[in-house]
């Protein structure tokens, strides 16, 4: 027991030094936590996908549409429960900096396919009834201070002109990882307008979303749909929703890799700082260790003494960092809301923070502990003075 008392006493002997090291450790853990959160956020949209949904798009690439006439054909494939469709609209609100996802969908079937969008029943009815109505996520509405009934104008990039919409409904996500910044409106509004202005672009959809009854049949259904349109002017590519989302996510691969590397660099930085503190501390106390050895302390006890002190410092730092992570994540979220609609600190990140504290604590004390425990008593005592 006395050894624990000594560990604590030692840890707080140099209050300033310990304080600074704890602070440095806390900052490192904070940075690591933020970076991890960026990475987990990046992948979080995968968790929001459902195994019961498939996405059909043009095989050439996303920018090519499919004819609406495929709708009936897909609907009659066995195992298909429900089909919805839509287009990426790509509208700009006031200017490009206000980026958010906006698309036109067939609303009734779409909302049935996405029960994770929670909408008050009366608003939902209003939205379905008004052809120019739109549905927006809670966070998007808060960001621009919109109210139900407000008219919002988007400037089309793919479909030229100014488009007026009326906010009819606001959705919340059923779980935390649902993106609450989307802007969804009625596909009929888009299509009817296009019929007048640009008939060549009418009756074309960007994607079909399919609800299937049995996720185990996904592969068969996928093959059947793609085979059906093989050698047609618009060949299809059908994937599970997860694979579809994965395709988007892997686009940012390189950047995610850089962030991963950097998050490990931070651990090396903090290791250098803590190892330095411990090296200095043990060098100053080398005489004391000699005295302890004279009193009969084994090299194991001395190692425990030094390692324990390091762990006290790193763990305190980790706790400080973890506490700071939450407000920092909130600030980060506000600054980068266009890039990260969802930004939540995962429990696994906190666990990882604590693991780092342990690893850094042990690794940083290895060399100093070896030095201190292998010192010859006479030599150690002579160093005093």
């Amino acid at each position: 027991m006395i050894i624990f008392k000594m560990i604590l006493k030692n840890a707080f002997r140099h209050k300033a030094r310990t304080g600074l090291t704890v602070l440095a450790m806390g900052i490192a853990v904070l940075a690591f936590g933020l970076l991890r959160t960026v990475i987990t956020t990046w992948f979080s949209s995968i968790e929001a996908t459902s195994a019961n949904r498939l996405v059909v798009r043009n095989a050439i690439s996303l920018i090519f549409p499919l004819p609406l006439s495929y709708y009936e054909k897909i609907r009659h494939v066995e195992g298909v429960r429900l089909v919805s469709y839509g287009n990426w609209f790509g509208g700009v609100y006031i200017n490009e900096k206000n980026f958010f996802a906006n698309f036109a969908v067939e609303p009734r079937s779409y909302l049935q396919l996405y029960p994770e969008f929670v909408i008050p029943e009366d608003q939902k009815e209003d939205f379905l009834r008004d052809r120019r109505g739109f549905l927006a996520g809670r966070k998007l509405v808060e960001r621009f201070g919109w109210r139900i009934g407000d008219v919002v104008t988007l400037k089309g990039t793919i479909y030229p002109g100014n488009w007026d919409f009326v906010l009819r409904a606001i959705y919340r996500g059923r779980t935390q990882n649902i993106d609450e910044t989307q802007f969804i409106f009625n596909w009929q509004y888009l299509n009817e307008t296009l019929k007048d202005t640009m008939p060549s672009m009418a009756d074309q959809v960007g994607f079909f979303v399919i609800g299937i009854t049995n996720p185990n049949k996904a592969a068969d259904i996928t093959d059947e749909i793609d085979a059906m349109f093989k050698n047609s002017p618009a060949e299809t590519l059908t994937e599970t929703e997860k694979a579809f989302v994965m395709g988007f996510i892997s686009m940012g691969d390189a950047i995610i890799k850089v962030i991963q590397v950097v998050s490990f660099v931070i651990i090396v930085i903090i290791l250098a700082v803590v190892a330095n503190t411990m090296a200095m501390t043990t060098r100053e106390r080398i005489g004391e260790y000699a005295v302890l050895k004279t009193l009969g302390y084994s090299w194991v006890s001395i190692t425990i003494l030094i390692m324990g002190e390091t762990l006290v410092i790193t763990l305190m730092g980790a706790i400080l960092g973890i506490v700071l992570t939450y407000p920092a994540a909130l600030g980060f979220k506000q600054a980068l809301s266009t890039f990260f609609p969802v930004f939540n600190v995962a429990p696994a990140t906190i666990l990882l923070d604590l693991c780092i504290a342990l690893v850094v604590g042990v690794a940083a004390s290895l060399i100093p502990a070896r030095k201190a425990s292998s010192i010859r008593i006479a030599e150690g005592l002579r160093r005093i003075g």
């Binding site: 030094r17 095989a59 686009m251 940012g252 250098a272 700082v273």
Partner: protein, 387 residues
């Protein structure tokens, strides 16, 4: 009287391990700092070099990228009649009507990504002085042939000269590889515009690009284009157009980079502070002796500050040394604004070297200032007596 510089040097040398660990911490921060700046500079360079200052890009009004723009053939014909368009020595207009689409191609490391296919006109190559052929030949007009950008060849499947593609580009042959330096064109496939329009059933052009006889004419030409009610088009200088394409990504890199370096540098400053406090504490008697020898408080302060700035200097040098190697790395990612692949390099510029070194010295200074004050305020008698 000033304490000689060698005193600071030797003090650092005596505590080699500590000096090394502290400098390493700073070096890593400088490394990250420099890398972020290099990445942003590389992105910027790639997109700025892609544009030429006297080229004009015409897009549909409201469109933000080439892919979502559309220009009907009759509108393109109107642009050809505008004044101020440069001609080559044969008297032909330096103007190209191009169609730009995205196709999905399989990557060599697995997965797939979007690649830009540019249907070019006869003058497209003359308008892009950066692009040149490195292997094979340019595609002939009227046949399904294409030339592939050099950064695509390494990353995507089956793009070597002589190979043919599948899908909508069935029976299309790769006949050459072009190199366009650090520009977006190195990540594109070029083929005859009419062939591309036919293969993908696209009846309209995406952009019209032309060279001006004089860059000063731009405002006049833009007026003619944007005020013509038949056209509903917009005109932009090519340089500005490509810069806008990278705005979002540049902002992302900047915010991420600044947040990281601020947090990292706090850690490294604390590291330097710990080291310098310990240096002062260990040398209490030495400081007392120096004072007794007649060195002023200010001299002591300077000496310790120099020591910690030196630490920062060493850290900066090591960090920059390793950052320089990052220039060999090419980052390839999808630009979310255009949705197509873009490759760019870490680029070390003199400005970044200066910024990184100043940053390193500032970290050293910030870490050393409090310990140096403590050293300079020591009482001579107490200091000498200290054990």
């Amino acid at each position: 009287m000033v304490i000689p510089l060698s005193y600071s040097f030797r003090s650092l040398w005596t505590r080699r391990l500590t000096t090394f660990l502290t400098a390493m911490g700073m070096a890593l921060v400088v490394f990250v700092f420099a890398d972020v700046l290099m990445l942003a500079a590389g992105l910027q360079k790639t997109l700025v070099q892609t544009g030429s200052y006297d080229n004009v890009v015409c897009l549909r009004k409201g469109s933000t990228s080439e892919v979502d723009s559309a220009i009907e053939k009759d509108k393109a014909a109107v642009i050809e009649t505008l004044p101020g368009i440069a001609t080559d020595d044969k008297g032909e207009q330096l103007l190209a009507k191009e169609v730009v689409i995205l196709i999905t191609l399989p990557k060599q490391q697995g997965g797939s990504s979007n690649v830009t296919v540019r249907g070019i006109g006869r003058k497209s190559l003359d308008l892009r002085h950066q692009a040149r052929l490195v292997q094979g030949r340019m595609p002939n007009f009227g046949v399904p042939e294409m030339v592939v950008g050099s950064s695509l060849v390494k990353r995507f499947e089956g793009l070597a000269v002589g190979s043919t593609l599948s899908g909508n580009l069935k029976n299309w042959r790769v006949v050459g590889i072009m190199e366009a330096g650090n520009t977006a064109f190195s990540s594109e496939i070029w083929a005859d515009a009419d062939q591309v329009m036919q293969a993908f059933r696209r009846p309209v052009y995406s952009v019209v690009i032309f060279k001006l006889t004089d860059a000063d004419l731009f405002d006049r030409v833009r007026g003619l284009i944007e005020n013509d009610p038949r056209l509903t088009l917009q005109a932009k200088p090519e340089i500005k157009f490509y810069l806008e394409q990278s705005e979002m990504m540049a902002k992302f890199l900047k915010i991420l980079g600044i947040t990281l370096t601020v947090i990292f540098s706090l850690g490294a400053i604390l590291g330097a502070m710990i080291t310098m406090y310990a240096a002062v504490a260990n040398r209490t008697r030495e400081i007392g002796t120096l004072r007794a020898l007649g060195f002023q408080r200010r001299a002591i302060l300077m000496s310790f500050l120099i020591e910690s700035i030196l630490l920062g200097f060493i850290g900066g040098l090591i960090g920059l040394f390793f950052a320089a190697f990052m220039q060999l790395v090419t980052i390839s990612t999808v630009n979310f604004q255009t949705f197509s692949e873009l490759a760019f390099k870490f680029t070390l510029t003199p400005a970044i070297i200066i910024e990184s070194m100043s940053f390193a010295l500032a970290m050293g200074l910030a870490g050393g200032i409090l310990p140096a004050f403590r050293a300079s305020r020591m009482n001579i008698v107490d200091a000498i007596r200290a054990g």
